[in-house]
Protein backbone atom coordinates (compact mmCIF):
# COMPACT_ATOMS: atom_id res chain seq x y z
CA UNK A 1 0.00 0.00 0.00
CA UNK A 2 1.60 3.22 -1.14
CA UNK A 3 1.73 6.44 0.82
CA UNK A 4 -0.74 7.99 -1.64
CA UNK A 5 -3.20 5.16 -1.07
CA UNK A 6 -2.92 5.51 2.71
CA UNK A 7 -3.49 9.27 2.42
CA UNK A 8 -6.52 8.72 0.22
CA UNK A 9 -7.86 6.12 2.65
CA UNK A 10 -7.44 8.42 5.63
CA UNK A 11 -9.03 11.29 3.70
CA UNK A 12 -11.98 9.09 2.75
CA UNK A 13 -12.33 7.97 6.35
CA UNK A 14 -12.32 11.54 7.64
CA UNK A 15 -14.80 12.67 4.98
CA UNK A 16 -17.05 9.71 5.78
CA UNK A 17 -16.97 10.63 9.48
CA UNK A 18 -17.63 14.30 8.76
CA UNK A 19 -20.38 13.93 6.14
CA UNK A 20 -21.95 10.56 6.96
CA UNK A 21 -21.33 9.46 10.54
CA UNK A 22 -21.67 12.79 12.38
CA UNK A 23 -24.91 13.89 10.59
CA UNK A 24 -26.34 10.39 11.14
CA UNK A 25 -25.38 10.49 14.82
CA UNK A 26 -27.04 13.89 15.20
CA UNK A 27 -30.20 12.58 13.48
CA UNK A 28 -30.18 9.46 15.70
CA UNK A 29 -29.81 11.56 18.87
CA UNK A 30 -32.65 13.89 17.83
CA UNK A 31 -34.88 10.93 16.97
CA UNK A 32 -34.09 9.23 20.29
CA UNK A 33 -35.02 12.41 22.17
CA UNK A 34 -38.19 12.67 20.14
CA UNK A 35 -39.04 9.04 20.92
CA UNK A 36 -38.45 9.67 24.63
CA UNK A 37 -40.85 12.64 24.52
CA UNK A 38 -43.45 10.67 22.56
CA UNK A 39 -43.17 7.74 24.97
CA UNK A 40 -43.67 10.05 27.94
CA UNK A 41 -46.66 11.69 26.28
CA UNK A 42 -48.15 8.32 25.34
CA UNK A 43 -47.75 6.99 28.89
CA UNK A 44 -49.43 10.11 30.24
CA UNK A 45 -52.21 9.77 27.68
CA UNK A 46 -52.77 6.12 28.62
CA UNK A 47 -52.81 7.00 32.29
CA UNK A 48 -55.54 9.60 31.68
CA UNK A 49 -57.55 7.16 29.53
CA UNK A 50 -57.22 4.40 32.15
CA UNK A 51 -58.40 6.76 34.90
CA UNK A 52 -61.30 8.18 32.88
CA UNK A 53 -64.00 6.34 34.85
CA UNK A 54 -62.43 7.37 38.14
CA UNK A 55 -62.21 10.99 37.01
CA UNK A 56 -65.79 10.91 35.76
CA UNK A 57 -67.09 9.54 39.09
CA UNK A 58 -65.18 12.11 41.11
CA UNK A 59 -66.32 14.91 38.81
CA UNK A 60 -69.95 13.82 39.19
CA UNK A 61 -69.64 13.85 42.97
CA UNK A 62 -68.03 17.29 43.09
CA UNK A 63 -70.56 18.67 40.60
CA UNK A 64 -73.38 17.45 42.84
CA UNK A 65 -71.83 19.18 45.85
CA UNK A 66 -71.30 22.34 43.86
CA UNK A 67 -74.88 22.27 42.58
CA UNK A 68 -76.22 21.64 46.08
CA UNK A 69 -74.55 24.85 47.22
CA UNK A 70 -75.34 26.99 44.18
CA UNK A 71 -79.00 25.90 44.09
CA UNK A 72 -79.55 27.48 47.48
CA UNK A 73 -78.23 30.84 46.30
CA UNK A 74 -80.35 33.60 44.82
CA UNK A 75 -79.48 34.03 41.18
CA UNK A 76 -79.08 36.91 38.79
CA UNK A 77 -79.25 36.86 35.03
CA UNK A 78 -76.11 37.45 32.93
CA UNK A 79 -75.34 41.16 32.65
CA UNK A 80 -77.27 42.01 35.82
CA UNK A 81 -75.62 43.34 38.97
CA UNK A 82 -76.18 41.79 42.38
CA UNK A 83 -77.00 45.15 44.05
CA UNK A 84 -80.72 44.52 43.71
CA UNK A 85 -80.42 41.24 45.62
CA UNK A 86 -78.53 42.91 48.43
CA UNK A 87 -81.02 45.76 48.70
CA UNK A 88 -83.94 43.33 48.74
CA UNK A 89 -82.21 41.44 51.58
CA UNK A 90 -81.84 44.70 53.52
CA UNK A 91 -85.48 45.63 52.79
CA UNK A 92 -86.57 42.31 54.29
CA UNK A 93 -85.22 43.54 57.66
CA UNK A 94 -87.41 46.60 57.77
CA UNK A 95 -90.29 46.59 60.22
CA UNK A 96 -92.27 49.44 61.74
CA UNK A 97 -90.15 49.30 64.91
CA UNK A 98 -86.69 49.50 63.40
CA UNK A 99 -85.04 51.92 61.07
CA UNK A 100 -82.65 50.90 58.32
CA UNK A 101 -80.56 53.68 56.85
CA UNK A 102 -77.23 54.60 55.16
CA UNK A 103 -77.31 51.32 53.25
CA UNK A 104 -74.82 51.17 50.40
CA UNK A 105 -73.24 48.43 48.31
CA UNK A 106 -69.43 48.40 48.56
CA UNK A 107 -68.46 45.77 45.97
CA UNK A 108 -69.29 42.46 44.41
CA UNK A 109 -66.73 39.70 44.08
CA UNK A 110 -66.88 36.52 42.02
CA UNK A 111 -65.28 33.51 43.69
CA UNK A 112 -65.92 31.21 40.73
CA UNK A 113 -67.21 31.94 37.23
CA UNK A 114 -70.82 31.92 38.41
CA UNK A 115 -70.75 32.24 42.20
CA UNK A 116 -69.82 35.33 44.16
CA UNK A 117 -70.91 37.63 46.91
CA UNK A 118 -71.96 41.24 47.18
CA UNK A 119 -70.96 43.23 50.27
CA UNK A 120 -72.26 46.49 51.68
CA UNK A 121 -72.79 48.42 54.89
CA UNK A 122 -75.92 49.65 56.69
CA UNK A 123 -77.19 51.01 60.01
CA UNK A 124 -80.13 49.67 61.96
CA UNK A 125 -81.61 51.49 64.92
CA UNK A 126 -84.48 50.76 67.22
CA UNK A 127 -85.25 48.96 70.41
CA UNK A 128 -82.72 46.32 71.33
CA UNK A 129 -85.49 43.73 71.55
CA UNK A 130 -86.45 44.47 67.94
CA UNK A 131 -82.96 44.98 66.47
CA UNK A 132 -81.37 41.85 67.87
CA UNK A 133 -83.93 39.43 66.34
CA UNK A 134 -83.37 41.12 62.99
CA UNK A 135 -79.62 40.53 63.28
CA UNK A 136 -80.13 36.96 64.42
CA UNK A 137 -82.48 36.41 61.51
CA UNK A 138 -79.66 37.44 59.19
CA UNK A 139 -77.32 35.05 60.98
CA UNK A 140 -79.72 32.16 60.49
CA UNK A 141 -79.20 32.57 56.76
CA UNK A 142 -75.49 31.87 57.19
CA UNK A 143 -73.36 31.02 55.32
CA UNK A 144 -75.30 32.51 52.37
CA UNK A 145 -75.45 35.73 54.36
CA UNK A 146 -72.56 36.77 56.55
CA UNK A 147 -71.78 39.63 58.88
CA UNK A 148 -68.20 40.61 58.35
CA UNK A 149 -68.30 43.37 60.93
CA UNK A 150 -70.88 44.08 63.56
CA UNK A 151 -71.02 47.02 65.93
CA UNK A 152 -73.76 47.18 68.58
CA UNK A 153 -74.02 50.51 70.40
CA UNK A 154 -76.33 51.34 73.27
CA UNK A 155 -77.92 54.59 72.25
CA UNK A 156 -78.42 57.39 74.74
CA UNK A 157 -81.37 58.73 72.70
CA UNK A 158 -85.11 58.13 73.16
CA UNK A 159 -86.48 54.92 74.69
CA UNK A 160 -87.91 53.81 71.33
CA UNK A 161 -84.37 53.82 69.88
CA UNK A 162 -82.01 52.49 72.54
CA UNK A 163 -79.74 50.59 70.17
CA UNK A 164 -77.82 51.48 67.02
CA UNK A 165 -76.17 48.76 64.96
CA UNK A 166 -73.66 49.13 62.18
CA UNK A 167 -73.42 46.08 59.92
CA UNK A 168 -71.04 45.08 57.19
CA UNK A 169 -73.21 42.58 55.35
CA UNK A 170 -72.27 40.08 52.65
CA UNK A 171 -74.69 38.10 50.48
CA UNK A 172 -73.77 35.13 48.28
CA UNK A 173 -75.40 34.80 44.86
CA UNK A 174 -75.09 32.79 41.68
CA UNK A 175 -75.20 33.92 38.09
CA UNK A 176 -77.17 31.76 35.71
CA UNK A 177 -74.93 30.92 32.76
CA UNK A 178 -76.26 31.57 29.28
CA UNK A 179 -76.87 28.41 27.34
CA UNK A 180 -75.22 28.25 23.95
CA UNK A 181 -77.76 28.39 21.10
Amino acid sequence: MTRQQITLLLLTLLLAIKFIYLPWDEWATTTQNNIAQLSFFYEKQQKVIDNEQLISDKLGLLQQQYKAFSDKLPSIKPGQKANALWFSLVDSLKTKDIKVYNQKVEFEQYITDDIGYVAGSLFISGKALEVMPAILALETKAPYVFLDQLKLIKSSGSRSENMVTQLYLGYWFSKSIEQAP
Partner: protein
Protein backbone atom coordinates in the same frame (compact mmCIF):
# COMPACT_ATOMS: atom_id res chain seq x y z
CA UNK B 1 13.97 -8.61 28.43
CA UNK B 2 17.50 -8.40 27.13
CA UNK B 3 18.35 -10.21 23.93
CA UNK B 4 22.02 -10.77 23.20
CA UNK B 5 24.24 -13.20 21.43
CA UNK B 6 24.14 -15.49 24.51
CA UNK B 7 20.36 -15.74 24.42
CA UNK B 8 17.32 -14.16 26.04
CA UNK B 9 17.56 -12.81 29.57
CA UNK B 10 15.26 -11.17 31.95
CA UNK B 11 16.01 -8.07 33.99
CA UNK B 12 13.38 -8.99 36.59
CA UNK B 13 13.94 -11.21 39.64
CA UNK B 14 14.11 -15.00 39.40
CA UNK B 15 10.85 -15.59 41.27
CA UNK B 16 8.99 -13.16 39.10
CA UNK B 17 10.44 -14.93 36.10
CA UNK B 18 9.11 -18.29 37.27
CA UNK B 19 5.67 -16.78 37.55
CA UNK B 20 5.89 -15.78 33.91
CA UNK B 21 6.65 -19.30 32.81
CA UNK B 22 3.18 -20.68 33.40
CA UNK B 23 2.57 -20.43 29.68
CA UNK B 24 -1.06 -19.42 29.98
CA UNK B 25 -2.54 -16.94 27.50
CA UNK B 26 -2.03 -13.83 29.66
CA UNK B 27 1.62 -14.70 30.35
CA UNK B 28 2.25 -15.31 26.67
CA UNK B 29 0.63 -11.99 25.79
CA UNK B 30 2.70 -10.20 28.45
CA UNK B 31 5.84 -11.81 27.10
CA UNK B 32 5.14 -10.84 23.47
CA UNK B 33 4.34 -7.20 24.27
CA UNK B 34 7.33 -6.81 26.62
CA UNK B 35 10.08 -4.34 25.80
CA UNK B 36 13.11 -6.19 24.47
CA UNK B 37 16.48 -4.48 24.91
CA UNK B 38 19.13 -5.54 22.45
CA UNK B 39 22.50 -6.12 24.11
CA UNK B 40 25.10 -3.45 23.32
CA UNK B 41 27.45 -5.94 21.59
CA UNK B 42 24.74 -6.72 19.02
CA UNK B 43 24.26 -3.34 17.35
CA UNK B 44 25.98 -0.31 15.93
CA UNK B 45 24.98 3.10 17.24
CA UNK B 46 25.51 6.76 16.52
CA UNK B 47 24.25 9.88 18.27
CA UNK B 48 23.27 12.91 16.15
CA UNK B 49 22.04 16.33 17.25
CA UNK B 50 19.59 18.40 15.19
CA UNK B 51 18.93 22.10 15.80
CA UNK B 52 15.16 21.76 16.19
CA UNK B 53 12.79 20.55 18.86
CA UNK B 54 9.83 20.27 16.46
CA UNK B 55 8.94 16.59 16.50
CA UNK B 56 7.46 16.65 12.96
CA UNK B 57 10.62 18.20 11.56
CA UNK B 58 12.72 15.64 13.48
CA UNK B 59 10.55 12.85 12.05
CA UNK B 60 11.10 14.16 8.49
CA UNK B 61 14.86 14.39 9.03
CA UNK B 62 15.03 10.88 10.53
CA UNK B 63 12.98 9.45 7.64
CA UNK B 64 15.39 11.02 5.14
CA UNK B 65 18.54 9.98 7.04
CA UNK B 66 17.59 6.45 8.04
CA UNK B 67 18.38 4.55 4.76
CA UNK B 68 22.02 5.74 4.54
CA UNK B 69 23.04 6.47 8.14
CA UNK B 70 24.34 3.02 9.01
CA UNK B 71 27.76 1.88 7.74
CA UNK B 72 26.87 -1.79 8.29
CA UNK B 73 24.10 -4.02 6.97
CA UNK B 74 21.12 -4.65 9.16
CA UNK B 75 17.92 -3.11 10.42
CA UNK B 76 18.32 0.56 11.25
CA UNK B 77 16.14 2.32 13.78
CA UNK B 78 16.10 5.82 15.25
CA UNK B 79 15.21 6.79 18.80
CA UNK B 80 14.83 10.27 20.22
CA UNK B 81 17.03 10.63 23.31
CA UNK B 82 16.07 14.16 24.22
CA UNK B 83 14.02 17.09 22.92
CA UNK B 84 14.83 20.41 24.54
CA UNK B 85 16.24 23.91 24.01
CA UNK B 86 15.66 23.84 20.26
CA UNK B 87 17.76 20.73 20.01
CA UNK B 88 16.87 17.13 19.24
CA UNK B 89 19.25 14.32 20.14
CA UNK B 90 18.67 11.17 18.10
CA UNK B 91 20.19 7.73 18.58
CA UNK B 92 20.57 5.73 15.36
CA UNK B 93 21.00 1.97 15.82
CA UNK B 94 21.59 -0.78 13.37
CA UNK B 95 20.63 -4.23 14.69
CA UNK B 96 22.27 -7.20 13.01
CA UNK B 97 20.19 -9.61 10.93
CA UNK B 98 20.91 -12.41 13.40
CA UNK B 99 19.62 -10.54 16.42
CA UNK B 100 16.48 -9.37 14.61
CA UNK B 101 15.84 -12.96 13.51
CA UNK B 102 16.31 -14.14 17.10
CA UNK B 103 13.81 -11.53 18.30
CA UNK B 104 11.38 -12.61 15.58
CA UNK B 105 11.80 -16.24 16.66
CA UNK B 106 10.64 -15.21 20.12
CA UNK B 107 7.91 -13.03 18.59
CA UNK B 108 9.36 -9.97 20.31
CA UNK B 109 8.77 -6.77 18.40
CA UNK B 110 9.33 -3.88 20.81
CA UNK B 111 13.08 -3.71 20.18
CA UNK B 112 15.12 -1.04 21.94
CA UNK B 113 18.88 -0.57 22.19
CA UNK B 114 20.28 -1.30 25.63
CA UNK B 115 22.04 2.06 25.81
CA UNK B 116 18.86 4.12 25.15
CA UNK B 117 17.49 4.23 28.74
CA UNK B 118 20.99 5.16 30.01
CA UNK B 119 21.28 8.04 27.55
CA UNK B 120 17.81 9.32 28.42
CA UNK B 121 18.50 9.09 32.16
CA UNK B 122 22.07 10.44 32.13
CA UNK B 123 21.48 13.17 29.52
CA UNK B 124 23.19 16.38 30.66
CA UNK B 125 24.89 14.49 33.54
CA UNK B 126 28.40 14.59 32.17
CA UNK B 127 30.83 11.91 33.23
CA UNK B 128 32.05 8.38 32.75
CA UNK B 129 29.72 5.72 34.10
CA UNK B 130 29.90 1.99 34.57
CA UNK B 131 26.77 -0.11 34.79
CA UNK B 132 26.46 -3.76 35.71
CA UNK B 133 23.06 -5.44 35.56
CA UNK B 134 22.48 -8.98 36.80
CA UNK B 135 20.54 -11.05 34.28
CA UNK B 136 18.38 -14.11 34.68
CA UNK B 137 18.22 -16.55 31.78
CA UNK B 138 14.74 -16.83 30.33
CA UNK B 139 13.67 -20.44 29.71
CA UNK B 140 11.74 -20.12 26.55
CA UNK B 141 10.37 -23.64 26.11
CA UNK B 142 9.74 -25.00 22.71
CA UNK B 143 6.25 -26.18 21.87
CA UNK B 144 7.35 -29.80 22.24
CA UNK B 145 8.97 -29.23 25.63
CA UNK B 146 6.01 -27.24 26.81
CA UNK B 147 3.61 -29.96 25.66
CA UNK B 148 5.66 -32.63 27.37
CA UNK B 149 5.80 -30.80 30.65
CA UNK B 150 2.10 -30.13 30.57
CA UNK B 151 1.16 -33.70 29.74
CA UNK B 152 3.86 -35.18 32.03
CA UNK B 153 2.79 -38.72 31.07
CA UNK B 154 4.44 -38.47 27.61
CA UNK B 155 7.79 -37.33 29.09
CA UNK B 156 10.46 -39.93 28.78
CA UNK B 157 13.02 -40.16 31.52
CA UNK B 158 15.84 -39.06 29.22
CA UNK B 159 13.94 -35.97 27.96
CA UNK B 160 12.98 -34.97 31.48
CA UNK B 161 16.59 -35.20 32.67
CA UNK B 162 17.78 -33.17 29.67
CA UNK B 163 15.27 -30.32 30.31
CA UNK B 164 16.11 -30.26 34.02
CA UNK B 165 19.85 -30.21 33.32
CA UNK B 166 19.48 -27.39 30.83
CA UNK B 167 17.46 -25.29 33.28
CA UNK B 168 19.87 -26.00 36.11
CA UNK B 169 22.96 -25.08 34.09
CA UNK B 170 21.37 -21.86 32.87
CA UNK B 171 20.18 -20.93 36.36
CA UNK B 172 23.53 -21.50 37.99
CA UNK B 173 25.56 -19.54 35.42
CA UNK B 174 26.36 -15.94 36.39
CA UNK B 175 25.14 -13.52 33.72
CA UNK B 176 25.64 -9.81 33.76
CA UNK B 177 25.35 -7.02 31.26
CA UNK B 178 28.12 -4.48 31.74
CA UNK B 179 28.33 -1.16 30.00
CA UNK B 180 30.72 1.74 30.03
CA UNK B 181 29.03 5.04 29.20
CA UNK B 182 30.63 8.36 28.34
CA UNK B 183 28.38 11.38 28.64
CA UNK B 184 29.72 14.69 27.36
CA UNK B 185 28.09 17.92 26.29
CA UNK B 186 27.58 16.95 22.66
CA UNK B 187 28.78 13.41 22.66
CA UNK B 188 27.18 10.29 24.07
CA UNK B 189 28.74 6.91 23.65
CA UNK B 190 28.70 3.45 25.17
CA UNK B 191 30.92 0.41 25.13
CA UNK B 192 30.16 -3.18 26.13
CA UNK B 193 32.56 -4.48 28.77
CA UNK B 194 33.82 -8.02 28.89
CA UNK B 195 35.94 -8.35 32.03
CA UNK B 196 37.60 -11.50 30.73
CA UNK B 197 39.01 -9.64 27.79
CA UNK B 198 39.94 -6.08 28.84
CA UNK B 199 42.33 -3.90 26.90
CA UNK B 200 44.42 -1.21 28.58
CA UNK B 201 42.17 1.69 27.46
CA UNK B 202 39.06 0.05 28.81
CA UNK B 203 40.83 -0.76 32.07
CA UNK B 204 41.87 2.88 32.42
CA UNK B 205 38.36 4.12 31.68
CA UNK B 206 36.88 1.62 34.12
CA UNK B 207 39.17 2.97 36.82
CA UNK B 208 38.00 6.54 36.13
CA UNK B 209 34.29 5.69 35.85
CA UNK B 210 31.71 5.95 38.57
CA UNK B 211 29.52 2.89 39.06
CA UNK B 212 25.79 3.28 38.81
CA UNK B 213 24.00 2.04 41.92
CA UNK B 214 21.25 -0.60 41.77
CA UNK B 215 18.64 2.03 42.65
CA UNK B 216 19.75 4.27 39.77
CA UNK B 217 19.60 1.34 37.35
CA UNK B 218 16.18 0.34 38.61
CA UNK B 219 15.00 3.94 38.27
CA UNK B 220 16.35 4.42 34.75
CA UNK B 221 14.58 1.29 33.53
CA UNK B 222 11.28 2.00 35.27
CA UNK B 223 11.01 5.79 35.39
CA UNK B 224 8.21 7.14 33.19
CA UNK B 225 9.39 9.14 30.23
CA UNK B 226 7.01 10.62 27.59
CA UNK B 227 9.45 9.42 24.94
CA UNK B 228 8.66 5.83 26.00
CA UNK B 229 5.08 6.43 24.86
CA UNK B 230 6.44 7.69 21.55
CA UNK B 231 8.53 4.52 21.20
CA UNK B 232 5.52 2.33 22.00
CA UNK B 233 3.33 4.19 19.48
CA UNK B 234 5.97 3.82 16.81
CA UNK B 235 6.35 0.08 17.54
CA UNK B 236 2.59 -0.49 17.39
CA UNK B 237 2.29 1.39 14.08
CA UNK B 238 5.21 -0.54 12.66
CA UNK B 239 3.74 -3.86 13.80
CA UNK B 240 0.32 -3.07 12.37
CA UNK B 241 1.87 -1.91 9.08
CA UNK B 242 3.83 -5.16 8.87
CA UNK B 243 0.73 -7.19 9.59
CA UNK B 244 -1.22 -5.29 6.94
CA UNK B 245 1.57 -5.83 4.41
CA UNK B 246 1.93 -9.52 5.20
CA UNK B 247 -1.73 -10.35 5.53
CA UNK B 248 -3.14 -7.95 2.97
CA UNK B 249 -6.06 -10.20 1.97
CA UNK B 250 -6.89 -10.88 5.64
CA UNK B 251 -6.71 -7.15 6.38
CA UNK B 252 -9.11 -6.50 3.50
CA UNK B 253 -11.52 -9.06 4.90
CA UNK B 254 -11.28 -7.58 8.39
CA UNK B 255 -11.82 -4.08 6.99
CA UNK B 256 -14.80 -5.26 4.96
CA UNK B 257 -16.31 -7.06 7.96
CA UNK B 258 -15.71 -4.03 10.16
CA UNK B 259 -17.19 -1.64 7.61
CA UNK B 260 -20.15 -3.94 6.99
CA UNK B 261 -20.75 -4.24 10.73
CA UNK B 262 -20.70 -0.47 11.15
CA UNK B 263 -23.00 0.06 8.18
CA UNK B 264 -25.35 -2.71 9.35
CA UNK B 265 -25.46 -1.19 12.81
CA UNK B 266 -26.19 2.27 11.41
CA UNK B 267 -28.89 1.02 9.03
CA UNK B 268 -30.41 -1.25 11.68
CA UNK B 269 -30.49 1.48 14.27
CA UNK B 270 -31.92 3.97 11.77
CA UNK B 271 -34.69 1.56 10.78
CA UNK B 272 -35.52 0.74 14.38
CA UNK B 273 -35.61 4.41 15.39
CA UNK B 274 -37.80 5.35 12.41
CA UNK B 275 -40.18 2.46 13.09
CA UNK B 276 -40.39 3.25 16.81
CA UNK B 277 -41.05 6.93 16.18
CA UNK B 278 -43.76 6.30 13.57
CA UNK B 279 -45.32 3.56 15.74
CA UNK B 280 -45.55 5.90 18.74
CA UNK B 281 -46.92 8.75 16.60
CA UNK B 282 -49.57 6.39 15.23
CA UNK B 283 -50.51 5.13 18.70
CA UNK B 284 -50.82 8.67 20.02
CA UNK B 285 -52.96 9.71 17.04
CA UNK B 286 -55.23 6.66 17.51
CA UNK B 287 -55.89 7.32 21.18
CA UNK B 288 -56.09 11.09 20.73
CA UNK B 289 -59.92 11.22 20.54
CA UNK B 290 -60.35 9.10 23.68
CA UNK B 291 -57.59 10.97 25.43
CA UNK B 292 -59.09 14.35 24.52
CA UNK B 293 -62.36 13.37 26.19
CA UNK B 294 -60.47 12.14 29.25
CA UNK B 295 -58.30 15.26 29.33
CA UNK B 296 -61.39 17.45 29.11
CA UNK B 297 -62.89 15.59 32.08
CA UNK B 298 -59.59 15.89 33.95
CA UNK B 299 -59.47 19.65 33.33
CA UNK B 300 -63.09 20.01 34.44
CA UNK B 301 -62.26 18.08 37.60
CA UNK B 302 -59.30 20.35 38.31
CA UNK B 303 -61.44 23.45 37.76
CA UNK B 304 -64.32 22.33 39.98
CA UNK B 305 -61.89 21.26 42.71
CA UNK B 306 -60.29 24.68 42.53
CA UNK B 307 -63.70 26.40 42.67
CA UNK B 308 -64.80 24.38 45.69
CA UNK B 309 -61.50 25.12 47.47
CA UNK B 310 -61.99 28.84 46.83
CA UNK B 311 -65.57 28.74 48.14
CA UNK B 312 -64.45 26.84 51.26
CA UNK B 313 -61.66 29.35 51.90
CA UNK B 314 -64.12 32.26 51.65
CA UNK B 315 -66.72 30.57 53.82
CA UNK B 316 -64.07 29.92 56.46
CA UNK B 317 -63.08 33.59 56.29
CA UNK B 318 -66.65 34.74 57.13
CA UNK B 319 -67.79 32.69 60.13
CA UNK B 320 -71.18 33.44 61.74
CA UNK B 321 -71.12 35.77 64.75
CA UNK B 322 -74.00 34.07 66.63
CA UNK B 323 -71.59 31.99 68.66
CA UNK B 324 -69.80 35.11 69.89
CA UNK B 325 -73.09 36.77 70.89
CA UNK B 326 -74.22 33.56 72.57
CA UNK B 327 -71.04 33.45 74.68
CA UNK B 328 -71.55 37.06 75.73
CA UNK B 329 -75.17 36.36 76.73
CA UNK B 330 -74.10 33.42 78.90
CA UNK B 331 -71.95 35.82 80.89
CA UNK B 332 -74.90 38.05 81.85
CA UNK B 333 -76.67 37.35 85.17
CA UNK B 334 -78.29 39.26 88.01
CA UNK B 335 -75.33 38.91 90.35
CA UNK B 336 -72.75 40.56 88.18
CA UNK B 337 -75.16 43.18 86.74
CA UNK B 338 -73.35 43.04 83.41
CA UNK B 339 -74.50 45.58 80.88
CA UNK B 340 -72.92 46.10 77.48
CA UNK B 341 -72.83 49.59 76.03
CA UNK B 342 -70.83 48.69 72.88
CA UNK B 343 -70.02 45.39 71.19
CA UNK B 344 -67.74 45.84 68.19
CA UNK B 345 -67.00 42.64 66.27
CA UNK B 346 -64.55 42.81 63.38
CA UNK B 347 -63.16 39.82 61.36
CA UNK B 348 -60.65 38.66 64.00
CA UNK B 349 -61.10 40.75 67.09
CA UNK B 350 -63.81 42.02 69.41
CA UNK B 351 -64.03 45.07 71.63
CA UNK B 352 -66.63 45.28 74.39
CA UNK B 353 -67.52 48.13 76.70
CA UNK B 354 -70.03 48.35 79.56
CA UNK B 355 -70.46 48.07 83.31
CA UNK B 356 -70.17 45.20 85.78
CA UNK B 357 -69.71 44.69 89.48
CA UNK B 358 -66.25 43.16 89.00
CA UNK B 359 -64.42 43.80 85.71
CA UNK B 360 -61.55 41.45 86.59
CA UNK B 361 -63.93 38.46 86.94
CA UNK B 362 -65.33 39.23 83.48
CA UNK B 363 -61.80 39.31 82.04
CA UNK B 364 -61.07 36.00 83.72
CA UNK B 365 -64.27 34.41 82.36
CA UNK B 366 -63.53 35.59 78.82
CA UNK B 367 -59.98 34.27 79.02
CA UNK B 368 -61.31 30.76 79.71
CA UNK B 369 -63.29 30.59 76.44
CA UNK B 370 -61.69 28.32 73.85
CA UNK B 371 -60.80 30.32 70.79
CA UNK B 372 -60.37 33.61 72.63
CA UNK B 373 -56.86 34.91 73.11
CA UNK B 374 -54.98 38.10 73.99
CA UNK B 375 -57.89 39.08 76.23
CA UNK B 376 -56.94 42.39 77.86
CA UNK B 377 -58.29 45.67 79.16
CA UNK B 378 -58.07 48.43 76.62
CA UNK B 379 -58.19 50.95 79.44
CA UNK B 380 -58.04 50.29 83.20
CA UNK B 381 -61.47 49.53 84.79
CA UNK B 382 -63.11 52.67 86.19
CA UNK B 383 -65.03 52.58 89.50
CA UNK B 384 -68.48 54.10 89.10
CA UNK B 385 -70.24 56.37 91.61
CA UNK B 386 -73.36 54.22 91.60
CA UNK B 387 -71.25 51.17 92.30
CA UNK B 388 -69.66 48.64 89.96
CA UNK B 389 -66.94 49.16 87.41
CA UNK B 390 -66.78 50.38 83.83
CA UNK B 391 -64.75 48.12 81.50
CA UNK B 392 -63.23 48.31 78.03
CA UNK B 393 -61.95 44.89 76.94
CA UNK B 394 -60.33 43.84 73.69
CA UNK B 395 -59.79 40.25 72.57
CA UNK B 396 -58.82 38.23 69.53
CA UNK B 397 -60.66 35.14 68.39
CA UNK B 398 -60.00 32.41 65.88
CA UNK B 399 -61.94 29.91 63.80
CA UNK B 400 -61.99 27.32 66.58
CA UNK B 401 -65.13 28.88 68.04
CA UNK B 402 -67.20 27.72 65.14
CA UNK B 403 -67.32 27.91 61.37
CA UNK B 404 -69.03 26.22 58.50
CA UNK B 405 -67.32 24.41 55.71
CA UNK B 406 -68.77 23.78 52.34
CA UNK B 407 -69.07 20.04 53.04
CA UNK B 408 -70.96 20.63 56.29
CA UNK B 409 -73.47 22.75 54.45
CA UNK B 410 -74.17 20.35 51.69
CA UNK B 411 -74.38 17.18 53.74
Amino acid sequence: MLLGQNGLFCLSSHQHLKKQQNNNFIDKLRFHVSKCFIARDSYWENIVHYPTANIIEVYKIITAELPQVSPIKGHTYAYIVNLSNNKATVLYCCFSEEIVSAAKAHKLWRLLPESLPYYRYLFNKQGLYFSSVALTPFHYLTKKENGLIQKDHGLTKKESVLIKERSSIEDNAQHTSELLLKIEADKLSSLPVNKNNLDMFTTAMLAESSTLEKNDIHQLFNKFNPLNVLDFGHHVIEKVTQLVKKQSHLTSYVAIVLLTSILTFMIGKSLFLSWHESHLTQLIAESKVTANKSLKLSNELKKIKNDIDNINTNLAGHPPRTQLLRILITLVNKDNQLKFSTIDISPSQMQIRGTITNAASLLSALSKVTGFNQVAFNTPPATLRKGGEGFNIQLHFNDNITHYTYQELTQ
